[in-house]
């Protein structure tokens, strides 16, 4: 697979087709005498900000820690979870039941959106 063309910036979707975000960063484990290992795809605002400027990433991080109700650390997905790489990268996870995933979305749904009338189920 081509890490830049096929994986970086691709949308991640779970088993049910729910979006998990985009691959903001890819981590390689560089080992002596053996090929670098593709260890994780990272999704998170700070990782994305780092691609604009490292200083921006630090500001975003400091700001996010202050205002966000959920932990700001990026979510990492192992490439072992990949089921298919095409238009999107399909992962073998379930965002609905896994409390570690879509933390901000779930928090906003519960504490903000569902308190406004007409938001639906």
């Amino acid at each position: 697979m081509d890490l830049v063309r096929d994986v970086l910036d691709a949308r991640l979707v779970d088993r049910r087709g729910r979006s998990l975000g985009r691959v903001d960063g890819i981590l390689l484990d560089v080992r002596d005498g053996r090929p670098p290992r593709f260890v994780a795809m990272e999704v998170g605002l700070v990782t994305a900000a780092r691609r604009i400027h490292p200083r921006l990433a630090r500001w975003v991080r400091a700001f996010a820690i202050k205002v966000l109700p959920v932990p700001v650390r990026p979510t990492r997905y192992s490439p072992r979870l990949c089921r298919d790489i095409g238009v999107d990268v399909k992962l073998d996870v379930d965002a609905q039941s896994d409390a570690r995933l879509l933390r901000l979305e779930k928090w906003l749904r519960r504490h903000v959106v569902e308190r406004i009338p007409g938001a639906g189920e």
Binding site: V4, L27, L28, G33, P36, R50
Partner: protein, 98 residues
């Protein structure tokens, strides 16, 4: 065998100028290929130069000229431990040209 390892980010490597041991720039890293080996995904090669960029964008050749150069470095031909300054570990002539 040493077990030292360190994490490098693909987004940091992307677009970096690759130098020879003598310090000459031979092109930028435009693509990184990986393959699955058992449970692991391992990097196999790096694609360098404008030809690799043209390939990534899949754009009709009329926009890039006919034969832009693309060099392929095997994983062991490029030292990426310092992602801001990737260095070839072999002479340029040993890289595959496509």
């Amino acid at each position: 065998m040493t077990r030292r390892s360190r994490i490098v980010r693909v987004e940091d490597l992307l677009g970096q100028r690759v130098r020879t041991a003598a310090g000459d720039v031979i092109g930028r890293i435009e693509e990184i290929r990986a393959e699955r080996h058992g449970d692991d995904h391992e990097v196999t090669e790096y694609l360098l130069g404008r030809g690799a960029l043209a390939e990534r964008f899949a754009i009709a050749p009329r926009f890039f000229g006919r034969h832009p150069t693309k060099r392929v470095a095997r994983w062991d031909q490029l030292d990426i431990r310092r992602p801001d300054r990737p260095v070839l570990t072999c002479p340029v002539e040993e890289l595959k040209r496509e």
